[in-house]
């Protein structure tokens, strides 16, 4: 047997990976056309304007293929889009919208008041979404005017809540459809936004879009857009670094500090740092003891190791949060609230004072009535962030054990049906490690996730003062009132502790500056937003 032959084979095996350049010379797609390449980790699951799912659904939050009635630009007040102007009635129960009269659907038909009425009735009857709660009636009052009547004084907050997320839908396509989610027709992508859907290439997970020439806002500055899905943030960042994509958009799943280190100092790449308007949080169930007991909640507030929580979530960019649970980039944020701090002694004292004593000397406290105390922690279900939540649970468990409270992980961690039932239907969790995303934070605020459903929220807190404050927030008639109520809410949050923010995080939406410029960066959202299509231009080529 020839040793030489063998060595030759092995050497060949070893060299195989290293052959050839990383990318063939002119294979970088989009390098020639006026095409903006966006990268995301949102999967391309559905292309349906009615659902908000997948890359397509979430891209539509940027006034992309669909036209929202109003849009928000970087947390400032709502701006007109499909609705040219509006009027809120003095009693805050009526909203009159005047909309654009020359809009055209991607299939050529004109957008009419019938479409608008259809859209709102759909939201009222079929979708029952939280954007337009308590919508009672929809009336056409002119060729370009529609009036919305609410059963409660919620018109102003409805205007804000539907901003960016509620689009006008084509009646001629959807009126014959029973279940929009299951509809398999080819016209599910039709809208009246500045871009139309062209195609989807499954092998490379890229969808393609083209600018609409006769859009009512004018022709966009970029001719073609492609959106590519990557499996992980690491792959996304590497693609940006290699110039395969120009910008990152990742609604609800922002890039965190751990992956952007490689982008520091790279030519033509902006790291795109901003505060996260959403936040990780610990919330209480309020249905049983001990989460009903304010002394227990306050004790938990003093028990947690905040610097460790913050660094687990955000690495070196994670900062300890304040007690108000509203994150800094949001409207109405109070900068005067002191950061949360750990004080295990004080936590212990609070528990002692409230009767949580270790009577049987097993190292763990019992409830004041003598029953054993074991708190179940439910964590948010979701693939991408599960490792983070499990880590947060480990820290929480440690911290609470240190003050003598026994903690276990709720069984729903592995059972999505059980988790959904627990968090969406029964709401019988005791402690919940969850998240407020940027969308909710933008108007409803983190308080929405804490307040009980009865008061218009999605949580369980039924403390009268907190509920009242939240109701008032939603009933605000203008931004001044809104800001005032936000101040009050944050104060209550600090005192009554329905929930605790675990970190003020930095998130990243990096982008390249070598092919396009004119980027406008929205805090907590990035450079891919509703102004991108008209502000970003290709860099002048010098040939």
């Amino acid at each position: 047997m020839n040793g030489k032959k063998l060595i030759a084979i092995l050497v060949l095996l070893l060299l195989m990976p290293g052959c050839g350049p990383a990318m063939p010379p002119d294979a970088k797609p989009g390098a020639r056309r006026n095409e903006l390449r966006i990268g995301t980790t949102l999967p391309h699951t559905q292309f349906n304007a009615m659902t908000e799912e997948g890359a397509f659904g979430k891209m539509n939050y940027n006034s992309f293929t669909q036209a929202p009635f109003v849009e928000t630009q970087d947390h400032v007040q709502v701006k007109p889009y499909f609705a040219k102007s509006w009027e809120v009635s003095p009693d805050n129960r009526e909203l009159l919208l005047t909309f654009v009269d020359n809009a055209v659907w991607h299939d050529g038909r004109p957008v009419t008041a019938e479409d608008v009425k259809f859209t709102f009735e759909y939201f009222k009857n079929l979708r029952k979404s939280t954007y337009l709660q308590h919508l009672q009636q929809v009336e056409i009052v002119g060729a370009d005017k529609v009036k919305l009547i609410f059963s409660q004084p919620l018109a102003f907050s409805a205007l804000n809540k539907m901003s960016t997320f509620v689009f006008v839908y084509p009646k001629h396509i959807w009126e014959k459809v029973d279940n929009p989610r299951a509809y398999k027709g080819t016209d599910t992508t039709i809208g009246c936004g500045p871009y139309r859907f062209l195609s989807y290439d499954q092998a490379s997970q890229t969808s393609h879009y083209q600018a609409v020439d006769n859009h009512f806002r004018g022709k966009p500055t970029i001719d073609y857009i492609s959106v590519r899905s990557f499996a992980t943030h690491a792959a996304l960042v590497m693609a940006l670094k290699n110039g395969e994509i120009d910008a990152v958009y990742d609604y609800g799943n922002p890039l965190e500090a751990g992956v952007v280190g490689v982008l520091q100092g790279v030519a033509s790449v902006e790291v795109g740092t901003s505060g996260d308007p959403g936040n990780y949080q610990l919330s209480f169930g309020f249905k049983t003891d001990p989460s009903r007991d304010i002394a227990f909640r306050r004790a938990v507030k003093y028990a947690l190791n905040y610097p460790l929580m913050a660094s687990t979530i955000g690495g070196y960019h994670g900062a300890v949060a304040g007690g108000g649970i509203i994150a800094p980039p949001n409207r109405g944020f109070r900068a005067d609230m002191p950061p949360l701090r750990q004080d295990k002694e004080k936590a212990g004292q609070l528990l002692d004072g409230a009767g949580y004593v270790d009577r049987d000397h097993d190292g763990f406290r019992e409830l004041p009535n003598g029953q054993p105390l074991e708190v179940a922690v439910t964590i948010r279900f979701g693939a991408a962030q599960k490792p983070v939540y499990l880590r947060l649970f480990e820290i929480l468990q440690r911290d609470l054990q240190d003050i003598g409270v026994r903690v276990r992980l709720d069984g729903s961690v592995n059972n999505e049906s059980l988790w959904s039932k627990r968090t969406a239907v029964d709401r019988d969790y005791e402690l919940y490690l969850g998240f407020t995303n940027a969308g909710i934070a933008s108007y409803d605020s983190a308080a929405y996730t804490l307040v009980s459903v009865a008061a218009g929220g999605w949580g369980t807190c039924d403390l009268p003062e907190y509920e009242a404050a939240f109701r008032q927030l939603l009933a605000s008639r203008n931004y001044a009132e809104y800001d005032r109520q936000m101040h009050v809410l944050q104060q209550f949050n600090d005192e009554l502790v329905p929930g605790i923010a675990l970190c003020w995080n930095q998130i990243f939406y990096p982008y390249r500056t070598d092919r396009f410029n004119g980027w406008i960066y929205y805090l907590g959202w990035g450079v891919v937003n509703n102004q991108t299509w008209y502000q970003v231009k290709p860099v002048e080529q010098r040939q």
């Binding site: 490689v262 460790l308 820290i395 440690r398 961690v413």
Partner: protein
């Protein structure tokens, strides 16, 4: 003769490796510098305070590794024990009783052999959720079939050698006595299969834990790798986080493999010992 020397040496190396790991597992509390659940400063590189640095929540990786030996070995050995016992039982019953029992058991065995085990484990993880129980079920569900087939073949051989008929003629009455006689004769074979079963069980457990489908609160080596990959340790080049678990898993499995391989070479399968 030369074969035997290599076999002996292989076996010795295997035993040495396994002895090292088992003692680490048993002595973990004494050997590890920190409590693996204690948290500190995250993402530290190796230093004199933390020989292998810290993970994403500041836990000492060396301590995690040492305690991880316990979980990984425990699950591997327990699963292998179950696999081997079940396989042996099925094989003996099928081979000894013959007839319809044999036919039914072999039908089940064949199905278990053909079913792809790893995809099945993943599918089961989806239906049963994670956790140690579902992990054990997934690992053991089809793996016993290999042992069963081999044991049955041995029993049939013993049968054809007249060994069993002799015993029956001598008046050995109950089936249990048969077991006392049959088992020693196949013990060499079964032990080899057991050692190899540990290899596949450990690989399976590590694979499922790596995917996050194992027991989430246990720190097995696979679970350490899970966090290393999904918390961007690999991306950022923290080799002290992902390299040691890979090495540990590999060495441990090599040890069991050497154990299994060497015995098969040295013990002749045609021997019959009474």
């Amino acid at each position: 003769m030369l074969n035997l020397n290599f076999a002996l040496r292989d076996r010795r190396v295997g035993v040495a490796i396994l002895a090292a790991f088992l003692s680490v597992a048993v002595l973990a509390p004494l050997l590890s510098p920190y409590d693996p659940h204690a948290m500190g400063v995250p993402y530290l590189s190796p230093s004199s305070a933390h020989w292998l640095g810290t993970n994403d929540i500041g836990q000492d990786i060396l301590s995690e590794l040492l305690y991880g030996a316990r979980i990984s070995l425990f699950i591997g050995i327990t699963a292998a024990a179950i696999i081997t016992l079940v396989g042996m039982m099925v094989g003996i019953v099928a081979g000894y009783l013959g007839g319809k029992t044999d036919w039914i058991l072999m039908a089940i065995c064949n199905v278990a052999m053909v079913l792809p085990s790893f995809p099945l484990a993943i599918v089961l993880a989806a239906y049963l959720g994670g956790g140690i129980k579902s992990l054990m079920i997934s690992i053991c569900l089809t793996a016993w079939s290999g042992t069963a087939l081999v044991v049955r073949a041995s029993v049939l051989q013993l049968r054809s050698a007249g060994f069993i008929r002799t015993l029956e003629a001598m008046g050995a009455n109950s089936v249990r006595i048969m077991f006392w006689h049959i088992v020693p004769n196949i013990s060499g074979l079964v032990l080899v299969k057991a050692a190899l079963a540990v290899c596949s069980a450990m690989l399976a457990e590590a694979g499922l834990s790596f995917l996050g489908l194992g027991a989430e609160t246990e720190k097995s080596w696979g679970a350490i790798l899970h966090y290393a990959f999904f918390r961007n340790g690999v991306f950022n080049g923290y080799w002290w986080w992902y390299l040691p678990p890979v090495l540990c898993i590999s060495l441990c499995i090599t040890g069991f493999m050497l154990l299994g391989r060497s015995r098969r070479d040295s013990a002749s399968e045609h021997e019959v010992r009474s």
